[in-house]
Symmetry: C2
Subunit: 143 residues, 2 copies
DNA sequence: CGCCTTATTGCAAATACTTGCAATAAGCAG
DNA sequence: CTGCTTATTGCAAGTATTTGCAATAAGGCG
């Protein structure tokens, strides 16, 4: 399976697979949702009180860099992370009601193609938050 | 002229045009570039040492909310602001060499139209930073 | 299994930015 | 111009996240 294969490859690259890293990765892998650093810290330290919040932050950064996690700023005061499962997607966030929708990656792929064509720039917008007004709030405003 | 008209309209809405607000707005209006909160603070406090850093942060938020400033996260550890002159644009930022390019708004307008059509969502991506690899760094990598 | 190298952690301090609250000063009326 | 209301400021404390450094522990080797 890809997951364990990736993990072993990281060890070959000189990274160390510490208890802290595995705990955080497994939590996010089983959680299937966005989580913030302090939520992760709260969960993990339940069973492993020795874990440190600074380590959580550093581990999240590392897991993101090696491509195992995705990161997003949904306009709250905290960043959110999710396990990088196969389905690439982005989020539409309504500034009025706060509603969040997932949208498929190919909407953005067209943009990527345009930018590559016109500017020779290879944009890699991974897991983006787009703000605006949702259909319902737009309808409500035309009352 | 539009600028002074906008300013007077704000007063009518109950906002107060304080010395601090005008100083920061004029600095950015004449600067024609992105500036960070602490750069702005350094500049303004040169001639007005009584100004407070918290006020700079609050004023930047307010100027952004009322549409006089644009805001951007270019991946450094600070947010940047610029005067909202007419030319709407976005930035391509190379993760390899750090190079920043401006791109015209209409590249993103196509994306906006697609999202509106498919999801009924009115996205308002104003002054966005797109990360990736620039043409030069891509060429260099195929050596 | 024990030893060694060094990547990673824990802890405490720092940084960018936000916020509660009492003091100040816009700006409108008189 | 003077007084009054209350939006805004200054200051100090708080929050999310980062960072320097000494202590710890992965994991390769014998
Ligand atoms: Mn997501
Ligand atoms: Mn700009
Ligand atoms: Zn909505
Ligand atoms: Zn480049």
């Amino acid at each position: 399976m890809r997951h364990h294969h990736d993990i072993q490859a990281l060890r070959k690259q000189g990274f160390r697979l510490t208890r802290q890293r595995m705990l955080i990765l497994e939590l996010l892998r089983s959680s299937e949702r966005h989580m913030t650093a302090d939520q992760i810290y709260a969960e993990v330290s339940q069973h492993h009180p020795e874990i440190n919040l600074a380590t959580v932050y550093r581990t999240l950064q590392w897991l993101h860099q090696v491509g195992l996690l995705r990161k997003i700023d949904v306009g709250k005061d905290r960043l959110e992370y999710e396990y990088a499962h196969d389905a690439e997607h982005h989020h539409l966030i309504c500034k009025v009601c706060g509603d969040q929708t997932q949208i498929d990656n190919h909407v953005i792929q067209t943009l990527q193609a345009h930018i590559l064509e016109h500017y020779g720039f290879e944009a890699d917008p991974d897991h983006v938050a787009l703000f605006g007004r949702c259909a319902q709030c737009r309808a409500a405003e035309t009352e």
